[in-house]
């Protein structure tokens, strides 16, 4: 491709990251098949924010859409990273959980319904603390129930990434899709630096952050199933493909022996070079590892 062609393609690319939650959710559906549930005009907002001087958003930062992906019934739940860092409150968490439970009920009636969860979130919304934490536990329970019937696909594109309690939801997913810009981990660099010092994690070291939490590293170490470019058609294709693929034979979070063995073999006397770590945790665990 000529330089000119490449530039034009870059300029004309539809960035997925630049879309808000509503636009991202819509982009994943087969054209004309999606409708939003409990949208802003239903005005189901957080009962806890205004009293603390925080302006609520009418959808509480969570968009629920139902429709078809690759011709199959699907529900997409998208967190709005720009609202309170995508953090989980009572209402946004309830929307997510209820959506997955309804999808599960449809599966039980014979209508195969997958779920796609768009995670741009720092975890629990501290203004709702224990209700946020509780609903994440409930979401995890809903994922476990649904994923027996149909795939639960977690997609993190950036710029917020997926951290905190919601990273466990990603851990339970049937499939994880990430862009290079995205990050996935339980604790962000600032939190680690606060708790255990700058030697443990220098939160100003951007290269280190992406080397550990970034999409490319997660994909290379078998923690993500697809690495996509920041281009809406690519992202939608990846999701379509995974919806069609169906439930995996074994979920990653159920491969306990594999991960127990891998963790047992780690030399904890030093920090690890993330690039070298990739050699330790190749994408497909060998039979040796699975014993």
């Amino acid at each position: 491709m000529s330089n000119e062609g490449y530039n034009a393609r870059f300029i004309n690319r539809q960035s997925f990251i630049e879309l808000d939650a509503r636009e991202r959710a819509k982009a994943l559906f087969d054209a004309g098949t999606s409708r939003e549930l409990l949208g802003p005009f239903d005005r189901v907002e957080s009962p806890w924010l205004a009293m603390q001087g925080v302006t609520p958003q009418e959808d509480d930062g969570c968009v629920v859409m139902k429709g078809k992906i690759a011709g199959q019934a699907a529900v997409v739940v998208a967190l709005e990273g720009a609202f309170q860092g995508g953090s989980i409150g009572e209402v946004s968490g309830a929307k997510m959980t209820a959506a997955l439970d309804l999808a599960c009920a449809d599966n039980e009636k014979g209508i195969r319904t997958s779920a796609v969860i768009l995670l741009e979130t720092g975890g629990v919304r501290l203004q709702e603390a224990n209700l946020g934490l509780a609903v994440i536990a409930e979401l995890m329970a809903s994922i476990l129930a649904l994923r027996k019937h149909a795939p639960v696909i977690c997609l993190t594109a950036g710029t917020v990434g997926c951290f905190g309690g919601m990273s466990l939801a990603a851990g339970l997913a049937s499939y994880v899709v990430m862009t290079r810009e995205a990050r996935l981990g339980m604790n962000g660099p600032e939190v680690i630096e606060q708790e255990n010092g700058v030697e443990e994690f220098d939160s100003s070291d951007r290269a280190l952050i992406w080397a550990i939490h970034g999409g490319e590293q997660r994909y290379a170490t078998g923690l993500a199933d697809a690495l996509v470019g920041d281009e809406t058609p690519q992202v939608a294709n990846a999701v379509r493909h995974l919806v069609s693929k169906g439930v995996p034979p074994v979920h990653r979070s159920s491969q306990v022996a594999l991960y127990r063995n891998r963790i047992a073999k780690l030399d904890t006397s030093q920090q690890w070079n993330p690039k070298e770590f990739r050699a330790l945790w190749t994408t497909n665990g060998s039979d040796e590892e699975n014993r």
Binding site: P40, F41, T55
Partner: protein, 97 residues
């Protein structure tokens, strides 16, 4: 947190509602709905107190050009007057499509 209300005269029925924006830092969301009668009612919730005059100035200006009978709700997290103007115009554009 402040709750501010404004009313403006309106002449025209509006085809449909619109929602634009996000309640992010420095941003706002606008919910616009067709209303009965000849009034446009604006309801603002903002986390930045003390800017009543600025809100009035922005809305006065907006309504010199807009005559739809609507209910507008704004949830604001510290947007500049320029951003408020932009979001209102976006909402109108979507509602007139």
């Amino acid at each position: 947190m402040e709750q501010i209300e404004f009313n403006y005269p309106a002449k025209r029925k509006v085809p449909k509602g619109a929602h634009v924006g996000v309640v992010g830092s420095g941003d706002l969301e606008v919910l616009l709905e067709p209303a009965e009668g000849e009034v446009a009612h604006v309801s603002i919730r903002t986390s930045v107190d003390g800017f009543l005059d600025t809100w009035k100035a922005v809305l006065d200006r907006f309504f010199t050009k807009y005559d739809g009978a609507v209910r507008i709700q704004i949830n604001d997290a510290g947007a500049t007057p320029g951003n408020v103007q932009l979001r209102l115009e976006q909402a109108v554009e979507v509602s007139e499509r």
